[in-house]
């Protein structure tokens, strides 16, 4: 259980949870301000993350930057157009707007002591289980 990979991802998780909190993404109030266009601070967080991520991806591809673990150029993984993508995205949007929570922020909220997120987190685990089963039935991962 305790190997280098797990230690690395524990550190990445801590960093990500900390940043989600400092971004304000762990506050349902601030999520509602984003969705109702009252305060766009989260839009700037997301836009900066995506644009800088895009620039880094562009450099990585152009300069053939190598991943440290494989020694091969960093892979650019494109998720597939899977069956259920649109339906799933619609359900996700409904749940996100309804609760002001997404999978990553539910966990960070638990760490912050926002206990209501335990209900949302439990729902996400059950929903993800059902989703995996449905994906299996739809014949795609």
């Amino acid at each position: 259980m305790l190997n280098r990979r797990n230690a690395l991802f524990l550190a990445f998780g801590i960093g990500f949870g900390f940043l989600l909190s400092r971004a304000g993404a762990t506050s349902p109030l601030i999520i509602s301000e984003l969705l109702l266009f009252d305060d766009l601070r989260l839009l700037w967080v997301i836009a900066t993350a995506v644009v800088l991520g895009g620039v880094l991806t562009w450099f990585a591809r152009r300069r053939q930057w190598r991943a440290r673990n494989t020694g091969q150029p960093i892979t650019i993984q494109h998720k597939p157009f899977k069956r259920g993508l649109i339906v799933g995205a619609v359900l996700f949007g409904l749940g996100w707007a309804g609760t002001g929570v997404c999978p990553g922020t539910a966990l960070a909220m638990l760490g912050e002591g926002k206990w209501f997120a335990a209900w949302v987190g439990a729902g996400i685990v059950v929903g993800a289980g059902i989703g995996s089963w449905l994906n299996h039935r739809l014949g795609s991962r």
Partner: protein, 173 residues
């Protein structure tokens, strides 16, 4: 020199950091995962692994343990953030719901618990059917220029914005 240090320390303990700074740090962290482990940011797949490992008789995916460890890390990251947000001690930061969620979520204990549970169910189910969430599709996928991630993210935001705006209008908040 001491003034600068003091300003930086104060800035660190602020509960909210400037949006562009946090966005840039998230981009660097997400890219760091790809550089060190060749693995893009991903949250909802970890929840699927967690669901499998919790199910009686479920076969745990040993190669995917790091995904669950990552989720645990996010909880600890939230704790770290709450411990360093300038408040005297960790007080179990109460969630701020604002006028929208206060009006939307049922008042009773049972009603609100069911609301959050069903909301979470939609999030988990939707993310698995879509093949990712706001982490895997939006932050990681769109940055990599993946067409399916751009489409999924557009639908996430269009539906969430549309639903929230409609609900706010109907609730009159």
């Amino acid at each position: 020199m001491m003034d600068l240090l003091e300003t930086l320390v104060d800035a660190f303990f602020a509960p909210l950091w400037p949006p562009v700074l946090v966005g840039a740090l998230i981009a660097l962290l997400a890219f760091g995962q790809r550089w060190l482990a060749d693995q893009p940011l991903s949250c909802s797949t970890g929840f699927a692994n967690l669901a499998t490992s919790l199910r009686p008789g479920g076969q745990r995916d040993r190669d995917g343990d790091w995904r669950i460890v990552f989720l645990l890390g996010i909880v600890l990251g939230g704790l770290l953030a709450a411990l360093t947000d300038g408040a005297p001690a960790w007080q179990g930061t109460a969630a701020e719901f604002g006028r929208f969620y206060s009006a939307l979520i049922p008042d009773s204990t049972l009603g609100s618990a069911l609301w959050w549970l069903i909301g979470g169910l939609l999030i988990g189910l939707g993310a698995r059917l879509a093949g990712g969430c706001t982490s895997g599709h939006t932050i990681a996928g769109v940055a990599m220029g993946a067409p399916a991630s751009i489409l999924a993210s557009a639908v996430f935001f269009a539906v969430a914005v549309g639903t929230a705006q409609l609900a706010a209008w109907m609730l009159g908040v």
